[in-house]
Every structure is written in structure tokens, then in C-alpha cells.
């Protein structure tokens, strides 16, 4: 099929073209109907009618041009492009759509693309396997050295908090971009490594996509209960099992049968201990717009309370500077609620002084169902807060 264009320059020509409209057996499809002299007429001509139409026009000396030589080819190309851009195959991390939520396999593909595009900066580590045997991947960003002091960032430990995994993807790209442009985080990468676990709870994440968008926990089955899952942010060995978590397997804050029962948690514990040189640890959640430091399991303030509070003040100021998003900050127990067995309480007690938790947008209007168009602004502003923490860690080595 072709699309022909005629621009009638005389009434005779116009009439010839209009005649074509009445020849129904030709099955012509006018994309632009005859309007008057000088206006283009675009005719979609099926293959069998090509000869007769061209003859009709040529016989009357009406000139035409072939606008589209092969309609089917264009349709096929568009089809491929649509598949590519909408869900299936972004070819590079430059064509990846950061303004949309993605599936688990899309995010895993993204990681592989990022590593392939930046083999000297990024590598992918498998630190363990989930309950349902999904790989637990961590991206390592390093410009060299051996076991450099490092920063850890995790997103998606609570699977329904989708803006966090989406932000993690954006952070990964941001780190690579800054490094390429020798700005921003590039200076931190001169002396420190960054570890980023984007989908910290892949079983839960898959479950939010297939079955229950509001799923929070892991997908483990313990103790013969009919209920599934453990709250991975109550399963750490810091005040484990104390007030601030539930012993009921059906509860959203079930701490699990024992500390580190969840492979998603144990793998990070093992990683942190064997690495031995992590200086800052940031665990990212949503929603509420908070920046939190330990403790959640006790009212006793941490020894470094003053310093952590000062860092928080600066980090929140930096975050708000971009879009005016308001954050509150403080220790977990005074700012949000008592919570035991939490990630950053454990990491702090391990000696990782700069342990923080973010609760990203929003404050309840959309909650977990944050519109996709807020992903990038959220990631951008959060990054500014993260930079403050990372720079402080770099400048205050301990």
C-alpha cells in the first residue's frame, strides 16, 4: 500500500482528484480530502488500485508524489517501537523510562544494561536469594581501590512502597551520569564505594504486581501459620521481639520467629559484616516525608544524637530546596513510633554511625499509590538529601 500526494493546481486537476472519490471499487482512503486549489490531497491506495489510480492521474497530466512508499513497513516499525518504548525493551539506560513504574524483570534488565554500559564503574553482586529463590542483587559503584570505605543505600524493603524502588533506579543512573560528567557524586567516588540494593524484597515486589498491591512483608511461611510474610524492618537484631513489633504472623509488623530469619535481611547482615568498612547506611521507605535516625526500639538517645540531628537538618534543607517538599526529622521513636528490630538500629549498633531512614513522598493524599509523574521529582530531591549525608561521611571519616 502507498500514500500518494496530489496538490491540484487547476480546477481540471481538482476535478480529476474528486472523481477518484466516487470510484468505490478502488477502496481509496483519503487521509486528506480535496479542499481546494493548492491544498494537498493525501490518498492511501491499496496495492491492487495503485496501477489504475496512477494511470488515471498521469493520463490527465496530474502530477503526484509518493508520500509513503510502503505503509505496512511503517506500521511494522511503529509496532516494534511501541513495544519497545511502552513496556518491553528499552535498548539502553538512556531510553529507559524513569517516569514510570517498572516490573521486576525490567528493573533487573536495567541493572544489566547499566553494568554493560559502564563496566569500569558498575558491577552487580548477588548477595543471596529470597525465600522464593529470587536473586538479591546489589549494584557496586567503585572507581577502584580495595575495600574502600563505603556507603550503602537500599530501596524497596517494603514492597508496596513503589516510589522507593523507582527512585533507586534513578539513583543508579544518576551516579553513572555524575561520574561521566565529573560532578556531584563523582568526588565521593574518588575515595568511597557506593552499594545500592534497588529491590531489597523481590518476592514482595512481585506479589504487589501480580496479586496484592498493598503487600508489605516478605513472602516466607513460618511456624505453620496460615499467614505469610515477615516485616523485614522488624527482623533485625536490635531490640528484636520487644515492644514495637508484633508476634502475630498475620500482622503487618510481624517480627518473624527469630532475628535474621528472613534471607532478605540475613544477606545484608552477612554482607555488612564481611565488608567491614561501611560508613553510612541509608534505608529508604515511603510514605510520610521524614528523615529518621536511630533508635526506634528504645527512648534512650544514641550517643551521636547531636551530630545525626545536625546532618538531618542540613539534608532536609537540601531536599526541600528543590521543590519545597516539607520533611520532618528526628529519631525514629520520637518522630514516627516505637519500632523494634529495625534496620538502622542494627546498623548503628554495628558501628555504622551515619545510619538513616528516609520516608519519601507523600503525606497521605496518594500514600503508597504515588502517581508515576512524581517519581523523578521525588528521586531528584531525595538525592540532594543523600548527597549531604554522603559528603558528611566522606569528610568525617572514622
Amino acid at each position: 500500500h502507498q500514500v500518494l500526494r496530489v496538490v491540484p493546481k487547476s480546477n481540471e486537476e481538482l476535478q480529476k482528484v474528486q472523481e477518484l472519490q466516487h470510484l468505490e471499487h478502488l477502496k481509496l482512503d483519503f487521509w486528506l480530502s480535496p479542499r481546494g486549489l493548492g491544498y494537498p490531497v493525501d490518498i492511501h491506495v491499496p496495492f491492487p488500485s495503485l496501477q489504475p489510480v496512477k494511470v488515471h492521474l498521469e493520463a490527465s497530466g496530474v502530477s503526484y508524489s509518493i508520500l509513503i512508499e510502503d505503509v505496512q513497513a511503517l506500521v511494522d516499525e511503529e509496532q516494534m517501537e511501541m513495544l519497545r518504548s511502552s513496556r518491553q525493551l528499552p535498548l539502553t539506560t538512556n531510553t529507559f523510562n524513569y517516569e514510570a513504574y517498572h516490573t521486576l524483570s525490567e528493573i533487573y534488565d536495567f541493572m544489566d544494561m547499566l553494568v554493560a554500559e559502564n563496566p569500569n564503574l558498575v558491577s552487580k553482586l548477588e548477595i543471596g536469594r529470597s525465600t522464593e529463590n529470587r536473586p538479591l542483587y546489589v549494584l557496586k559503584f567503585s572507581t577502584g581501590g580495595t575495600n574502600r570505605p563505603a556507603i550503602w543505600i537500599d530501596t524497596g524493603i517494603h514492597s508496596r512502597e513503589w516510589v522507593t524502588q523507582a527512585s533507586g533506579v534513578w539513583f543508579a543512573k544518576k551516579i553513572v551520569e555524575d561520574h561521566a560528567n565529573n560532578e556531584g557524586v563523582a568526588s565521593i567516588l574518588e575515595t568511597m564505594d557506593i552499594f545500592l540494593e534497588i529491590v531489597t524484597n523481590p518476592d514482595g515486589f512481585a506479589y504487589t504486581q501480580t496479586t496484592n498491591r498493598m503487600w508489605r512483608k516478605t513472602r516466607s511461611k513460618h511456624s505453620g501459620s496460615i499467614c505469610v510474610g515477615v516485616d523485614p524492618n522488624r527482623n533485625w537484631d536490635a531490640g528484636f521481639g520487644e515492644a514495637g513489633a508484633s508476634a502475630n504472623p498475620c500482622s503487618e509488623t510481624y517480627h518473624g520467629p527469630y532475628a535474621n530469619s528472613e534471607p532478605e535481611v540475613k544477606s545484608i547482615v552477612d554482607f555488612v559484616k564481611s565488608h567491614g568498612n561501611i560508613k553510612a547506611f541509608v534505608s529508604i521507605h515511603s510514605y510520610s516525608q521524614l528523615l529518621l535516625y536511630p533508635y526506634g526500639y528504645t527512648e534512650t538517645p544514641v550517643p551521636d544524637q547531636k551530630e545525626l540531628h545536625e546532618i538531618s537538618t542540613k539534608a532536609v534543607a537540601a531536599l526541600s530546596s528543590l521543590y519545597g517538599t516539607k520533611y520532618t526529622y528526628g529519631s525514629i521513636i520520637t518522630t514516627i513510633y516505637r519500632a523494634s528490630g529495625g534496620t538502622i538500629d542494627w546498623t548503628y549498633n554495628q558501628g555504622i554511625k551515619y545510619s538513616f531512614t528516609f520516608e519519601l513522598r507523600d503525606t497521605g493524599r496518594y500514600g503508597f499509590l504515588l502517581p508515576a509523574k512524581q517519581i523523578v521529582p521525588t528521586a531528584e530531591e531525595t538525592w540532594l538529601g543523600l548527597m549531604v549525608i554522603m559528603e558528611h561521611a566522606r569528610d568525617n571519616m572514622y
Binding site: A100, T208, C227, E252, T363, G367, P371
Partner: protein, 206 residues
């Protein structure tokens, strides 16, 4: 949250979603043999009118030992909120003229999208959730509307619009997401009334 929920219930509508912009001041008074009274100074705003805020003072009294009664709320709002008369009339007429009863689910959807014509349905649910939050809160709970799971319009012979919702309420402290059935009546001049509500029975363990 209780105060905001109550104000939202009393003053919200399909064209007005009231949210908390800032908590300016809060104070708690323990009244012997009565309960705990909170004095609050709030800044509220309409989600559809970003540039305007109004001040609100509220008093919330949690009765001692009466765990099953709603807290008592009194409030006053200083300043004018954007008028929704036109939007309300338009919404009312649009729904009344529907041939088939409106049915929808998952608002917002998993990606946070709300089709524009369903935005008032969402805001109406938000108002109703204000009622549910007020009725079911204690000093140790913090509820938000997480999602409308299902909504069905029920045509009526009188002038009210009726919507039967199943909403998901997210409670922050326990982190539970609780399905709740609530039937809502609304009229542009009579406002919103909750005709019945109940926590949906049955709990999905996973």
C-alpha cells in the same frame, strides 16, 4: 489526623479535598476522670487550590475508657475556601444524567493514576474517609485513605446521589491496610452523609 478527618468530613466535597498543610501548635491537657484533650492550631488547604491555606483551631477530646466511642471534635475555620458550587452542580448533573450506574475500581490504580472524570468520586471517598477516621481513631492510631477498591453508584428516587464504596484504610502504627464498606449520600446543598459503614469481615492472611 482525627481533627483533619473531621473537618474534611464536615467541609469537604467532590470538589474540595482538605488536607493538612502544617501543624502550627499542639497541646495536650489531661482532664481527671474525663480523658485527654488536645488543642490544635492547623493550617489546612484544598488539594485543588494549592495557593490558598486557611487556619483552623480544633479541640479533640478522647474520652477515658470509652474505647468504642468516637473522640469529640470542635473546630473553627478562619478564612475562605475556594467555592465549589459550580463544580458540585456540574458533578451532580453529570452523575444524575448517567444512563447506567457508575461502577469503578482501584482508584488510584497501582501507578497512582486517577482518570480525570473520576477525581470527584475520589474526593468524595476522601471526605467519607474523614468520617471513618474520626469515628475509629484512638490516640494511638493514624489513618489514611489508601485506595478505593470498588465504588458503585446506587440510583435513588429522591434527590441524593448514593455511592457504595469499599475503601482501604491504611493505619500507620500497625501498618495494616483495612477494607471498609461505606455507603455515602451526597447532595450539592445538603453535603455528605454516611448512611452506613462497616469494617469488611474476613482477613486475608496472604
Amino acid at each position: 489526623a482525627v481533627a483533619v478527618g473531621y473537618v474534611r468530613y464536615r467541609r469537604g466535597g467532590p470538589g474540595r479535598g482538605l488536607e493538612l498543610r502544617a501543624l502550627r501548635r499542639a497541646r495536650r491537657q489531661d482532664i481527671d476522670d474525663v480523658g485527654h484533650k488536645y488543642y490544635l492550631e492547623l493550617e489546612l488547604g484544598d488539594v485543588l487550590d494549592k495557593d490558598r491555606t486557611v487556619n483552623c483551631t480544633a479541640e479533640v477530646l478522647y474520652h477515658l475508657g470509652h474505647k468504642n466511642t468516637a473522640p469529640e471534635v470542635q473546630f473553627s475555620v478562619e478564612g475562605e475556601l475556594r467555592s465549589t458550587e459550580e463544580a458540585d452542580e456540574e458533578f451532580y448533573n453529570r452523575i444524575r444524567s448517567l444512563e447506567k450506574e457508575l461502577v469503578a475500581e482501584n482508584i488510584p490504580d497501582s501507578h497512582g493514576n486517577i482518570p480525570q472524570e473520576l477525581e470527584p468520586i475520589h474526593l468524595l471517598a476522601w471526605v467519607a474517609s474523614g468520617y471513618l477516621i474520626w469515628q475509629n481513631s484512638t490516640e494511638n492510631t493514624h489513618f489514611h485513605l489508601a485506595q478505593i477498591k470498588h465504588v458503585k453508584q446506587v440510583k435513588r428516587s429522591d434527590e441524593d446521589l448514593q455511592f457504595d464504596y469499599v475503601v482501604l484504610l491504611h493505619e500507620m502504627v500497625s501498618q495494616e491496610v483495612i477494607p471498609w464498606e461505606v455507603a455515602v449520600l451526597w447532595h450539592p446543598r445538603r453535603g455528605l452523609r454516611v448512611s452506613r459503614d462497616r469494617r469488611q469481615p474476613g482477613h486475608t492472611p496472604g
